[in-house]
């Protein structure tokens, strides 16, 4: 079965979602990421969704679950690159992803996570 690759960048993990995700792929990403956070001791997770042209409640829930689980493992999560049309649709759908940090791109997401980590240190 296909898997979404997880890249390590220093103390962060980077996931770039580039496919139209079917539900099983979303679930395996959730598991894979959680394991990688624990194994690598990563302090932050960046999820780049700039290639996703929709986020429905299932994917939204997956993003929130990843952020929540990572936090329990002492890592911060940022969802980056959301397309404006996706943001408009998500709010109308009723899903505001409270509790999930967001940034416009990967670079800004890293800055955000670094700042969050420094505040904690």
């Amino acid at each position: 079965m296909d898997r979404i690759p997880i890249l390590r960048m220093g103390e962060f993990l980077l996931v770039t979602i580039q496919v139209d995700m079917h539900d099983q792929l979303a679930l395996s990403l959730q598991e894979d990421l959680t394991q990688r956070v624990q194994k690598t001791g990563a302090r932050g997770v960046l999820i780049d969704i700039s290639a996703l042209d929709i986020v429905d409640s299932f994917i939204g829930r997956m993003l929130a679950t990843i952020a929540g689980t990572a936090r329990l493992l002492d890592a911060q999560t940022a969802v980056v690159g959301m397309q404006p049309a996706v943001a408009i649709t998500l709010v109308e759908l009723g899903l505001q992803l409270r509790g999930v940090r967001t940034a416009l791109d990967v670079e800004k997401g890293m800055t955000l996570l670094r700042a969050a980590l420094e505040r904690r240190a």
Binding site: D23, I54, V86, T89
Partner: protein, 137 residues
């Protein structure tokens, strides 16, 4: 909904999680063809994704009829999701934000309703569920 000229129609089965992806791709292609704005495309594809997942998870599978309809001078896309699942005993309750019998967020039905121009639901216990939505260009 009133009978309108149907320019084209197609039925897509919803029997496995991957069929949800197929439904999304079909709706994307047709809304692009109808020259919906990007936001309107995104709303319709997202609504279709929610309703297809409902048909699969709560309805134990079903189908969607995809129709390109005309209500001169405007054109639109109409989607009719049908399943032979357990049905919905209380539709008003099912349309409330946050109400769920599954393990989701309870946004599927109420959220999808907000994303379309027209929304109709028929359901009864033991009779399955039919949800019809439409969005106009």
């Amino acid at each position: 909904m009133i009978a309108l000229p149907v320019l084209r129609k197609q039925i897509i089965p919803i029997q496995a999680p991957n069929d949800i992806v197929v439904v999304r791709q079909k709706v994307r292609a047709l809304t692009t063809e109808l020259r919906f704005s990007l936001v309107d495309q995104t709303k319709m594809v997202t609504a279709a994704s929610e309703l297809a997942r409902n048909a699969l998870e709560h309805g134990k599978g079903g189908q969607v009829q995809v129709e390109l309809v005309e209500d001169d001078p405007r054109r639109g896309l109409r989607l009719t999701f049908e399943d032979q699942g357990p049905g919905i005993p209380n539709i008003d309750l099912a349309l409330k934000d946050g109400y769920t019998t599954g393990n989701g967020l309870g946004l599927g039905l109420s959220g999808a309703k907000r994303l379309v121009n027209e929304f109709e639901i028929e359901s009864a216990p033991g009779k399955g569920t039919r949800v019809t939505v439409a969005r106009w260009r």
